[in-house]
């Protein structure tokens, strides 16, 4: 266990004011959960050790830990207008929308349709009293406080958050948007976005989690998402990260996929100075299927680290992972993909691939696959490829009158397209495609 250093002090000090302040009305089980979590965080600290720290070997969180990020001062509530949401929003106005500004739930900006049978979408703080049985059963179960200092820290400050629950055999009519917005009005602030998504047996839901900023300021987002896909259910979870170029973004996403259930996930990372995503999926029941897709576009000195762990705990389960990266400037990417196949999990089919397009000589992409296979009748595949833009393709486009910068954008967009097309939600697909086109020239100039 790590010694507590001064890095953790600002968070420990903020805890009592938070627990005794506007979160003091939360149910006792939540209060106890938080107290346990802050103690764990105090003991564990940030994973800053550089020796023997395999999980964080390629991503140094020291720079993040050294900044004493503060919870935003609630009395200086940020005024964000509906119009400012546009940059982070897409799809139909009918879609349910949960909006959080600097970690605080915004009722005015959110859009919650009159509750329907079978579907509950609300602020997590409200769900703690409205649906305590679901919250108590699932909150912190998949993304355990024990995971690392970041999950413990998130749990210590859990209050506002997204809660999506779909009852047995119901399907959510519309995709649910979760928008986490940083206003930029609180310098060096921290937020701990939380989402709990539960699809009961045979239920279906599509959830889009957005992380965006209104200003290019420095802040720290420490997000935790838990997705429970019970037997026969289908959940599509899409995540778009467009943080400010000076932001630190740490996200933990944990999913459990039951028998005959499907978890379809796509993650797009375009922002943040440092982004680290811990995606962990447990294939808990037979015939479960998971598709995990990722796209990251980084330039300048951005660093993006995707750690993806798939645990095939049940036989006859399948998973398919495809991550693609576009790197420019002096950016760096890490893809750390682990596939675990348990002893009795026969007939597992798992594939994993990471492909990177390097647009500059200084960019670096590291792919680190790891297989832990304890069953003997399994099919596991792995692929990795790093390449540059094809000069002949660029020339072909130029020879037809297209200028070099546009030709480059066309080819990079084409590379990203493979992932974009896997997003099974047309408005989001178009949104991501547009963002990709927008961000490519910025990568080149180092402005992203």
């Amino acid at each position: 266990m790590q010694q507590q250093t001064a890095y953790e002090t600002p968070y420990l000090e903020a805890f009592d004011a938070f627990q005794g302040g506007h979160a003091s009305g939360d149910p006792a089980f939540i209060q106890a959960h938080r107290r346990e979590a802050i103690e764990r965080f105090g003991a564990q600290g940030f994973p800053t050790a550089r020796r023997g720290n395999e999980a964080w070997k390629y991503t140094d969180v020291g720079p993040l830990a050294r900044i004493p990020f503060q919870l935003p001062d609630p009395s200086r509530g940020a005024l964000v207008k509906q119009g400012q949401l546009k940059t982070a929003s897409f799809g139909s106005g009918e879609w349910p929308k949960l909006v959080f500004v600097d970690g605080t739930y915004s009722e005015e900006l959110s859009n919650l349709p009159r509750s329907r049978n079978g579907v509950t979408i609300c602020n997590l703080a409200e769900a703690m009293t409205r649906r305590p049985e679901v919250v108590e059963q699932h909150l912190g179960r998949l993304a355990s406080q024990e995971e690392n200092g970041f999950t413990a820290l998130n749990a210590a400050f859990v209050h506002d958050g997204a809660f999506v629950h779909v009852s047995k055999d119901y399907a959510a009519e519309h995709p649910v948007l979760i928008i986490n917005l940083s206003s930029g009005k609180h310098p060096d602030s921290v937020s701990h976005p939380r989402a709990l998504i539960v699809a009961e047996e045979g239920a279906g839901a599509t959830v889009v989690e957005m992380h965006a900023s209104l200003k290019g300021s420095r802040y720290f987002t420490n997000a935790v998402t838990e997705v429970v896909v019970t037997p026969g259910a289908t959940v599509r979870h899409y995540r778009v990260q467009r943080q400010s170029p000076h932001a630190y973004h740490i996200a933990t996403i944990k999913a459990e996929v039951g028998r005959d259930a499907t978890f379809d996930s796509a993650a797009v990372d375009m922002g943040a100075s440092l982004a680290r995503n811990n995606l962990g999926v447990t294939m808990a029941g037979e015939e479960g299927h998971a598709a995990l897709n990722g796209l990251y576009l980084v330039g300048d000195a951005q660093h993006v680290d995707n750690e993806v762990v798939i645990d095939h705990a049940a036989p006859n389960t399948s998973s398919r992972e495809l991550y693609k990266g576009i790197l420019d400037g002096k950016s760096r990417s890490v893809f750390h993909g682990s596939i675990i196949v348990r002893k009795d999990a026969q007939k597992v089919n798992a594939s994993q691939a990471d492909k990177n397009l390097l647009l500059s000589e200084q960019a670096e992409a590291d792919t680190k696959p790891a297989f832990w296979i304890y069953a003997d009748d399994v099919k596991c595949g792995h692929g990795a490829a790093n390449g540059q833009l094809d000069e002949n393709a660029l020339f072909y486009l130029q020879a037809r009158g297209i200028d070099r910068a546009s030709a480059r954008t066309m080819l990079v967009r084409a590379f990203a397209r493979e992932i974009v097309q896997l997003i099974d939600l047309a408005p989001l697909r178009d949104y991501v495609d547009r963002q990709v086109i927008k961000v490519i020239p910025q990568l080149q100039s180092g402005a992203a």
Partner: protein, 261 residues
Amino acid sequence: MVLDSPVLEVRNLWASVGDAPILKGVNFRVMPGEVHAIMGPNGSGKSTLANVLAGHPLYQVTEGEVLFRGEDLLSMAPEDRARRGFFLSFQHPIEIAGVRLDQFMRASYNAVQKSRGQEELDALKFDRLVKSKSKLVELDPTLIRRSVNEGFSGGEKKRTEILQMSILEPTLAILDETDSGLDVDALRVVAEGINQLRTTDNAVVVITHYQRILEYIVPDVVNILSNGRFVKSGRRELAFEIEARGYDWLQETEDRVGVGP
């Protein structure tokens, strides 16, 4: 009477890849309305000539000058050459996964139109234009919704090149071995397509190893390229002679020092 000025004038053109010189002093001039054929054995520099004229970054021009409609072609970026009416139909059109052919063609067309201050087309109008032009080369219309050249047959790739030529209406089209890989029927269709695009103002340079395509596209001038320079010039009959006698007899007339077959 006003004398026509040349569409293309190539003067003492030398070009290399790395340290290896490939073109060693090429001279020729193409007038409006003309069809030129450039023939030559493999490795003679035919494709290099085409690529140098189009501005491929792999090749360095070490000497000489090229005027295209009176302007210095070699100082222009590849896209500016295209926008001024230069077109190269590639010998091996590249496959570009993820870029839809129709979207690429529209981007190309609009870039050229915009540079000329002419109307750009939206997807709908452009579709109509493509449909009317596709008939010319008998191109399967479903192909244009697919990725550029991806999984296309040799013939489909060449038809697609000529389709692009018909859309861009270039002043000078260089057809680099457009006949290679085509069966007789496809060759006839492609050649007829090219013929229909000919006017008194534009010009075509057909680069080929065989004279077969020249039965359909009748040249005014035939130049034989060997070892990086033109070794013989003639009328259409020269192509027939090459057909009958091959290229070997021509090489005897030139300096072969340090040159492969």
